[in-house]
Symmetry: C2
Subunit: 434 residues, 2 copies
């Protein structure tokens, strides 16, 4: 055993560069892929259902002969739900209820106020009319993703939630359909890839155009989402999953090792980083990782992730740890120490912060309540977990009184003249000179 995982210390002279290189992960845009995706979008816009059906037969080897076979009924969703074992059904229900409870706290309301001049100003908050949720098919077809995307939309008050999920060879994960039933998805189409994104963005004869598309997918899906951004809203383009565990004091090294491995098993390019000022703990965690790697069902994936992108980092102290965390802006952050809440005050950038020794990241993936769709690749510097706010939007409200407008109109007149916008100035002037 030993030396599977990269070891770093902030005391090494070249640490900064090595750490920066470790974090670097750039998705290279492939011009061929972009061209393919652009062509698919153009064809779906032109030929609608027929082209979506054709590509679904071709790429997914789906046995459907006509487009109508690609839509599931609410009865089919309910049947999948009713077919769950009691244990699974109860687990899914508990998860859905907790996710709903947390997201209800995110719901925003509008407000207005009257200014000193007697004008009313405010912000109106409304849900999106219709959203599309992309759920990957095959092995990565996760029921938890259905809950995490559909429930915030539902809480926001979105009138129509349309889910797309590819069914390779016509096969579907019944748990995904059960989750769609539980989360209140309105329509489900068994399509995927860039063609599903194009159909949602522009609409076809059967699929109504949506206002926003969320949910993860492969590189075709990601490229298609980027291409339709502007026509519809999109959530972030997700990168590989990451976890950063910071620990000090009394900790069970085996638990921490498994927490790190739980990210590594997701993907060969997932990133698991352990930071501690405690060298003995670093050694212990390393040993447990190596030991458990032997036995994991997804050992190959996890090993590649751990070897290529994992790291054990020794820091001087907690402050240095916090500094590195802010530099990483991790998707998932575990703070395993007695003073976790205190330390969290110093964390400026993280998707989700799991505090204390009894808060494994895995519960956040399923049932803690907060969303598991989180900003990756350092984008927590400027973005947020998926939330109800992604399915609401705001409109400004302005209503001036006949007297209240005078000061504002005078001001607008002066500034519009400075910007050489004469019609602006005149339009304002009418309201205080008349």
């Amino acid at each position: 055993m030993g030396k599977l995982m990269r070891r770093l210390s902030t005391q090494e002279p070249n640490f900064k560069q090595v750490f920066k290189d470790l974090l670097a992960f750039e998705t290279v845009s492939d011009p061929e892929l972009l061209k393919t995706v652009d062509q698919i979008i153009a064809d779906v816009r032109q030929h609608g259902d027929a082209h979506v059906l054709k590509l679904t037969q071709q790429f997914d080897r789906h046995p459907a002969h006509q487009f109508s076979e690609l839509e599931l009924t609410q009865e089919e969703l309910k049947a999948a739900f009713d077919g769950l074992t009691t244990e699974t059904r109860e687990a899914l229900e508990l998860a859905a209820n907790r996710v709903r409870e947390f997201h209800q706290a995110q719901k925003q309301d509008g407000w207005t106020y009257v200014d000193a001049l007697g004008n009313t100003l405010g912000q109106k908050v409304t849900p999106l009319d219709r959203v599309g949720i992309y759920v990957p098919g095959g092995l990565a077809s996760y029921p938890s993703s259905v809950l995490m995307n559909a429930i915030p939309a539902h809480v926001a008050g979105v009138a129509e939630i349309i889910m797309v999920v590819p069914a390779p060879s016509g096969e579907l994960n019944p748990l995904v359909l059960a989750a769609a039933h539980l989360a209140g998805v309105h329509r489900v189409f068994t399509i995927g890839g860039a063609q599903a994104v194009a159909a949602l963005a522009y609409g076809t004869e059967t699929i109504p155009a949506v206002d926003k598309i969320t949910g993860p997918g492969n590189r075709f899906v990601a490229a298609a989402k980027r291409a339709v951004f502007g026509q519809v809203g999109i959530d972030m383009i997700a990168g590989p999953s990451e976890i950063l565990v910071y620990a000090e004091g009394k900790n069970n090294a085996e638990w921490l090792a498994m927490d790190l491995l739980s990210q590594a098993e997701h993907d060969t390019v997932a990133q698991a980083v352990f930071i501690t000022p405690d060298e003995q703990l670093l050694n212990d965690v390393e040993q447990w990782i190596e030991k458990h790697l032997e036995a994991l069902p997804k050992a190959e994936i996890a090993r590649t992730s751990i070897v290529n992108r994992g790291a054990l980092v020794l820091v001087k102290d907690r402050a240095e740890g916090a500094e590195l965390i802010n530099q990483v802006a991790p998707e998932h952050l575990m703070l395993c120490l007695d003073e976790a809440e205190e330390m969290s005050q110093d964390i400026r950038h993280a998707g989700a912060i799991f505090m204390g020794r009894y808060t494994p990241e895995a519960i956040g993936d399923y049932c803690a309540g907060p969303n598991h769709v989180l900003p990756t690749s350092g984008t927590a510097r400027f973005s947020s977990p998926l939330g109800v706010y992604d399915f609401q939007k705001r409109s400004s409200l302005i209503m001036c009184s006949e007297n209240g407008v005078k000061t504002l109109a005078k001001t607008a007149d002066i500034l519009a003249q400075q910007e050489n916008l004469d019609a602006h100035a005149r339009s304002a002037r009418y309201r205080y000179q008349d």
Copy 2:
């Protein structure tokens, strides 16, 4: 006079298609432009300051010989502010104060709650560390844009606000610098184009990399923002400006005509649409538009906009008007009727709603308080005005108690097994079986 502007009626058999065609505005992505922009970004990443300086000399004919000449000092900003006339200074201050007051109401705070199991859940809200604001140069260099972008960032608590503004031939609008002083901009570089966006996104020797870039620009700037999206956050890619005026009852047709012209003078592709159930008012507004078009300094621009993209639409009644408005999802909406507030309840999609006869859109551009950066081209269906929320982000907080975690860990264990994620299941299991 007469028949300059397209006239539509919902009673015409082909109205739906004609109205849809009227709204259509697709930015064609130009592969040559994208290639140029990608090359500029790659070169700025590789050569930093030197390349930014070179392109600034080349494209902006800027007389600077070294990069340091492209940064303005706080003293220069203050001098510009001190040089304003009293009237202009007071107008700018009133605008800044009102924008600040409105945006303070948007500031969001974090929250936590303890669930029935004794676990703490919450949402932490933090400002972005550093943002870049793009301000166009030359004729479209608007001081109001500086206020509208910088003040929300300032209110959010952004630690460093960096403004870029191109200075063609080295010339700058002093009012833009005065606005930067007033809005609390921390650093200003006189650069523009794709090279400025690249420098902000990736940083150079002199310019620190920012976390988000906001502000309007030409098609090179828009393409560059789209290209760096993911590396940094961006605001929306703005399309041409639009206004939709709905009026009924007692109204001054001349005022309404000027309100419509105030958008038309912005841009040849700007869109001004007037909707009313009152045919006489439609005729009157048309006449006033034609009359004032003669005399406007920007008559050529406004005329092209009015002829190519404007429309006068006769509707049956208010309900039909509201339906059309929701279909358009206009950037600016004026509701000029006694029951404006009541009608606003039926509006689901609009960037900003100006209510009543004493609320010209022009005051919203400068000093009403709400932001003038608004979703265009129907994107109000899924996006919001620029706001403090664009400069804040959220992190989820989860802290389980030793007992509280048990139910969650059991649930996560069950669901993780269903998703074939063994390390997830074990990581959860440790917390309830130990």
